[in-house]
Symmetry: C2
Subunit: 149 residues, 2 copies
DNA sequence: ACTATCTAGTTCGACATAGAACCAAAGAGG
DNA sequence: CCTCTTTGGTTCTATGTCGAACTAGATAGT
């Protein structure tokens, strides 16, 4: 095995680990959400609350790291459920703006409670320790990958 | 915000970071693989080489953390491409055994080269440092989540 | 030995997501 | 102004993944 391949194995192993953790945590999240609400939908609601609503879909898409078409689809689901409202952007004929509805805010509040409880049962002090320990490194890694893709 | 919610925000933020890193790294991997070969397929070939082939699909599925039906689907793709062979398990009438073909081994060798090159361009010494630094913690986290789901 | 339970694999239906092609509006450069 | 390029959003198609239901073979408990 060449030098490059040794490094590749290391890198690949690392990202494999990341992938599995992501999958397991997503599964936990999915199970603690009501039927028909995907983690990505919850994630969008969360983003709208934390970063403020009234943003165009394309901005949300880039923040969530998904493509525009995926965002179109997800927003349609959220709109059908009455959690958001999408209005044309008065300042840009092409654009739209996404607003949370009261129902959406209430739903998100309740979901937070359920999710908190689910993770509270699973995440122990050791795990919390790990998260705090490696959180900074993960953030740095994410930023780097994001900027160099 | 309650205590629980504060912790939830922390936990959720952590897994969000993990999710984004996973997505970005998967995208890099996907782009360095030939058309029609998904990262998960590559992952299966890799697993067969590293852990040895001649294993039943259900074992591979549990190792890769995907469901049986997903594995059935992925194996069909790999089989259609001639990278693996699936034979009935002589010791278990229900079971099958998965074998790598020569073509599959060659393909994987070549893919490793491409993937190594792609990641070599992107991953710098800082990133490698991060990986080595937090690899142990990630492993521990993965095992914990795996055992407590 | 017989039944009940479990396990391996498949099939079906649903859904999130990506990529490509497309339209319409905005912006830039002459 | 007028074109060229860029940008926001949608539509279409393909694919990976999951959950649930199902079949067939294995295993355990009495």
């Amino acid at each position: 095995m060449s030098e490059d391949n040794i490094m590749a194995a290391e890198v690949f192993g690392f990202f494999t680990e990341i992938g599995i953790i992501n999958q397991l945590s997503t599964a936990i999240l999915a199970k603690s959400l009501p039927e028909g609400v995907h983690p990505s939908h919850f994630s969008i609601l969360n983003h709208l609350v934390r970063m403020g609503d009234g943003k165009p879909p394309v901005r949300i898409a880039s923040a969530m790291q998904v493509t525009k078409n995926t965002m179109t689809h997800s927003l349609k689901v959220l709109q059908d459920r009455g959690y958001i409202m999408v209005a044309p952007d008065p300042a840009d004929g092409r654009g739209k703006l996404v607003y949370l509805t009261d129902s959406g805010r209430r739903f998100r509040e309740q979901a937070i409670v359920n999710v908190s409880e689910a993770f509270g049962h699973i995440i122990g002090p050791d795990q919390l320790g790990i998260m705090r320990r490696i959180g900074g490194d993960l953030l740095q890694m994410r930023k780097y990958l994001d900027e160099n893709r």
